[in-house]
């Protein structure tokens, strides 16, 4: 009797659950078709990068029926992770495009949607991005809109310059002058050592200076043009003007550490670092004065010539909410998003005088920033190319060999040339 009752109760419960589930699903389906929308967006280092959520908050305030959820991936693994997820049919609605190799990989494999029709239908003015949109156009189609556009600039520690009695770097400085200045600024030893400059382990930190003149690009059939820059940097390393590459690598040392510790006088780095420094200074991580200047340039190249990188948003081919995603992408990459970005100390891709004013007037942004960020020519860090991923891997490997002194500059660049020619043929 008791047993029977239990079984009957169980049956009733199951039936109730089924009914609930079906009706619940029905109700929520109907509701979502009307208004409630949840979008997902891939991003990196959400905890330490305040702007992701800031722009989302602004969007959600205007669109109360939309919730945007961030999918957080560690920045170093971002593109690898996204490649694997997208290969597995991931349906994250909005995909943040971190770099050109990732962009190239996703668009050639049909994983992100061409936006041309949407752009035309919504009347988005691509010329407002001052050339960035053209750089993202591949065979006539554009698959992403830029929201951040960063350029390489020079950060310097004013306290070290003052102590050495030297003038601050100007916005018109050649790489030769930069090298000489770094030598003058180097002093001390052991724990008190001050390094004149700092080159982060990225190959771009050395290689970007070699393509500023526009005569060569990072994808080439002869890399001997990089020799002068490598000669200068390896000589600086040998003489202890910059920190040792192998140690930065083995210690996994982020560029913010040596700069914020006041160990280095000058640091060539992307403009994204402004936001980080402003926040770190406000948190009391360091207490020296710092400034920014234009990226140094090769002899005979106009001052203000620099290299840049774009961060953009794309829509996943597998997304079920493409229309809602497009509305969000427009907001993020448009003027409203740009204002929020500028307010967090980041350089938006869309730069009107008003937006730049918001950026420059943010507390902690050095006064020199306005002039330092003026550019004459911005070269793309990496051009679009179907084999760009493979080429970049070779460049990274050979860069490592040159910088660890395993190969001489000449041998390393010869090997780079021969390996990359094999890939490109």
């Amino acid at each position: 009797m008791n047993k029977w009752l239990n079984r009957r109760t169980a049956n009733v419960c199951v039936a109730l659950l089924v009914i609930l589930a079906v009706s619940g699903g029905f109700i929520s389906n109907r509701a979502s078709a009307q208004d409630e929308i949840t979008l997902t967006m891939s991003a990196w280092d959400v905890a330490t990068t305040p702007y992701w959520q800031a722009v989302i908050d602004a969007y959600e305030a205007e669109h109360p029926n939309v919730t945007v959820e961030l999918i957080d991936v560690p920045s170093a693994d971002y593109q690898d992770t996204m490649n694997i997820r997208l290969s597995g049919g991931d349906d994250t609605d909005i995909i943040t495009v971190k770099d050109i190799p990732g962009y190239s990989a996703m668009l050639t494999r049909g994983q992100i949607v061409p936006l041309n029709d949407l752009i035309e239908a919504s009347g988005v003015d691509l010329s407002a991005y001052s050339g960035a949109a053209e750089e993202l156009t591949y065979e006539g189609s554009i698959y992403a809109l830029p929201f951040r556009s960063d350029i390489w600039i020079l950060y310097y520690n004013k306290t070290i310059f003052d102590a050495a009695g030297l003038d601050y770097p100007t916005n018109d400085m050649t790489w030769g002058e930069f090298g000489a200045l770094a030598r003058e600024l180097t002093s001390g030893s052991g724990a008190d050592k001050i390094y004149g400059a700092h080159f982060h382990v990225w190959r771009s930190a050395v290689q970007l200076g070699t393509v500023q003149d526009g005569l060569n690009t990072i994808i080439s059939d002869d890399y001997s043009f990089m020799a002068p820059m490598y000669d200068m940097v390896t000589a600086m390393q040998k003489d202890g003007i910059i920190m040792d590459y192998g140690e930065l690598r083995a210690g996994n040392i982020h560029y913010s550490g040596p700069f914020e510790n006041g160990q280095v006088a000058m640091l060539p780095m992307g403009s994204w670092f402004i936001g980080t420094l402003v926040a770190a200074q406000a948190d009391g991580v360091f207490d020296f004065d710092w400034g920014v200047a234009s990226y140094p340039h090769p002899e005979g190249v106009a001052a203000g010539t620099t290299a840049g990188t774009l961060t953009s948003l794309a829509i996943n081919e597998e997304s079920d909410n493409k229309d809602a995603a497009w509305d969000f992408v427009q907001f993020y990459t448009g003027e409203e998003g740009a204002k929020v970005l500028a307010g967090t100390g980041n350089l938006p891709a869309l730069r009107t005088p008003e937006i730049l004013e918001i950026f420059a007037s943010k507390d902690g942004v050095p006064v020199e920033a306005t002039d330092a960020l003026q550019t004459t020519t911005v070269r793309l860090e990496l051009p679009m190319h179907p084999n760009v991923g493979e080429v970049e891997q070779i460049l990274n490997e050979e860069h490592e060999l040159i910088m660890t002194d395993s190969l001489s500059v000449e041998e390393g660049l010869e090997e780079t040339t021969s390996r990359i020619s094999e890939v490109l043929q």
């Binding site: 494999r109 192998g246 690598r249 083995a250 991923g389 493979e390 490997e397 060999l401 660890t404």
Partner: protein, 309 residues
């Protein structure tokens, strides 16, 4: 009647049914595992074997290329380097880990004070997070100010190796890290085997006048051969598959100095989107491991002692 029939014809229907029943019960016990193996290992393997004969970027059309991928491997300098590196890693890791594990096991089998504490200490790296292990290891071997090089300098070595920052020393550094990480686990296996050696053997050896070394050489080592065999198989297979430790410690560098086959497989698949080519590399690795394992099994009879006491 049943009894008589059974004795006369062992294969009567009832007997066979019983056998079948027994077998089915046995199969049902291994079914969950077998099913898991079939779905998650066998099917992907067969799929990968097929993929190795195609060219596929993971999204667009798959095209049949036959053995082209395997031919391309012959001209691929990264493949050659990573094959050499893998063999170098296996050749360094397997014997040294076994020697260290055996040494520790013999040592910690002695009735010494605090031996459980030491056993735990030596086992600890095996359960510690690999990323943490790699970071600590890189710090220990930091070229300028790491404790290891400070120590070497104190001993009078003017130019100590630059460890993971140098092409020549990166692989030995990774091998040392791997030995340190894994020896505790194999030590436990050896410890268990040591405790299974009957003490009468040592007593008999003592009566025969054997000294400590002779006891170790002629009693302990032969009695441990089943464990040694098991460990050599497991270690060889896991060493061929090394990836995680290298990814976090050196990322294959400097240059390609620590690039191994699994790393090359990963890079070609998920960074260059050559899934067919990548599968071909994986197949080569599979064949390599299989051949070596078969050789190990055929050699087994020559040196492994399965004594019945």
């Amino acid at each position: 009647m049943k009894l008589g029939v059974k004795a006369a014809h062992p294969n009567t229907p009832s007997k066979r049914r019983k056998e079948l029943r027994k077998n089915l019960i046995a199969y049902s016990f291994i079914l969950p595992n077998l099913l898991g193996f079939a779905i998650f290992t066998l099917v992907p393997m067969v799929f990968s074997l097929g993929l190795a004969l195609t060219s596929w970027d993971g999204a667009n059309q798959v095209s049949w290329v036959g053995l082209q991928n395997f031919k391309d491997l012959l001209d691929d300098s990264t493949f050659r380097i990573s094959l050499e590196n893998t063999l170098w890693y296996v050749g360094g890791t397997v014997p040294l880990t076994m020697v260290c594990a055996l040494g520790l096991a013999v040592l910690l089998n002695q009735p010494i004070r605090g031996r459980n504490l030491f056993r735990t200490i030596y086992f600890f790296p095996y359960v510690a997070s690999l990323v943490a292990v790699a970071v600590v290891w890189n710090m220990l071997f930091f070229p300028s100010a790491g404790p290891v090089n400070e120590f070497l300098r104190a001993l009078g070595v003017a130019n100590p190796p630059r460890w993971s920052a140098s092409v020549d020393w990166a692989m030995p550094t990774v091998i040392m890290a791997s030995i340190w990480r894994n020896m505790g686990y194999y030590m436990i296996i050896y410890l268990a085997a040591l405790q299974g050696i009957p003490s009468i053997l040592y007593e008999a050896a003592a009566i025969d006048g054997a000294n400590a070394w002779q006891k170790f050489r002629y009693v302990t080592v032969p009695m441990l051969t089943p464990a040694t065999f098991f460990i050599s198989i497991m270690l060889t297979i896991t060493s061929f598959k090394v990836f995680d430790l290298i990814l976090v410690m050196t990322n294959g560098g400097p240059g390609r100095a620590t690039n191994v086959l699994v790393m090359h497989t990963y890079n070609t698949a998920f960074r260059q989107f050559k899934f067919g080519y990548s599968s071909a590399i994986a197949m080569v690795l599979f064949a390599l491991v299989m051949i070596i394992t078969i050789v190990q099994f055929t050699m087994e009879r020559r040196w492994v002692e399965y004594s019945q006491l």
